[in-house]
Symmetry: D2
Subunit: 139 residues, 4 copies
């Protein structure tokens, strides 16, 4: 269902009625849902389940900024690929390039800046060392 | 924006792109969102803010069952009314009749059964007396 | 990813942040999204793509009624199975039993009544013969 | 419910369970839903109903790019204000500054670039003169 490598991580998504709007295309906010699914599965593939991150490491990766461009519409029934590539890795910050493609053509792409936060206090903390090490291997 | 009385409570909702799907109508799951908004505002109008209920009374009203019929489609830009009427009030259970109408015509109607739960333990508890009293006045 | 047989059809779903709410559980309307995904994939597995049904056969299966019970909460990261079983097959109507389970335990179950409609005119029409034949094989 | 002026347009939104996620805050994609509601009501206040725009003028305003920053979390029950200000008005393009605030504090802000499209052909067209005139008055 997915792959990780020098090309980054890729996760498949199918377009259902729930994703579309009356213009007959995927509603613009829903691409952010697709991108978050891909990030979750990417972290999971790296051995970092988000529920475990929060419970055992007391950290959560929270989106701080998204700059997303909508290039082509996606439609009901489309089979899309959602990509994740690490663009920059800081001590408490992670910048990802994400894309949604259909048959190799870009539907949307985005730069997503994430902050590593203490979930209860909602303030920036350092990415725990073992996680940072695993992220560095895939950056 | 709303009214309470022998006719029950009524809350206005407008249909935006986010609510519709590629069939050009409101997506069927989204009527449950509308109904939950109306229940929240109804409880708020009765002096019961859900965030406060949970924090101060340690109770949450959780949906146990919904029997919903879809009678007419609603479309982009429609102005709808969402109704809430108490059908039955038990010690830890509340049955509501809810409807979504447009210009007096029923779009969907539903019977919604809610349980009063302890939010952390997720088990049924009695509706606290002061809340029960307020609900009885409006049943 | 899925199977069809005497036990009905089964489709896997994973719970992401987008599906949950501040109570820490899957938001009640989102199970209807899961159920619709499973119905779409079930029809697809039977050779009936919904986009094609509409374009070539001028029919759409539209939900007329849902009676859904919420038995256990599902949470972030859960891996769920969504089932589809034909309960009754009429000339322009289809009644399905659907369930969402986790490790064999029922999270929600629902009876879903669907009408076969002409999508532009939004009125009931007979299920086209070739589709009816395929549905009868799996009822 | 809203106002237009030199300060731009402002639309109120309340946070319901549907908007939140298991982290206890508004899910990041849902701010785009709030911003789209505010844009729809802003156009409506300027006499441009989106359903009418599409039907009578054969144009739709489609989001081409969003650059959104998440500054503070919003939570269940919060009462938010969503602002719309015209930043730049071109012949077939509209750039808006949008913000979501709570009690005067910025929760999120975004620059939203919209293209005026022919909805069926999905290609850029000029903003029709009467609409352009009305937008210029409020830019």
């Amino acid at each position: 269902m997915s792959s990780t490598g020098t090309q980054g991580f890729c996760f498949p998504v199918r377009v259902y009625y729930e994703d579309t709007d009356a213009a007959g295309v995927v509603y613009y906010a829903n691409y952010l849902r697709y991108m978050e699914r891909a990030r979750t599965e990417w972290l999971s593939a790296l051995g970092m389940e988000i529920a475990v991150l929060e419970r055992e490491h007391a950290v959560a990766f929270v989106v701080h900024r998204v700059d997303i461009r909508y290039l082509r519409p996606a439609r009901l029934g489309d089979r899309l690929e959602v990509g994740v590539t690490v663009q920059e890795l800081g001590r408490s910050r992670l910048i990802l390039d994400q894309s949604v493609t259909r048959a190799g053509n870009t539907v949307t792409d985005a730069r997503v800046t994430m902050a590593c936060l203490h979930p209860a206090q909602w303030r920036a903390v350092r990415i725990p060392r073992p996680l940072l090490a695993r992220l560095q291997q895939h950056a």
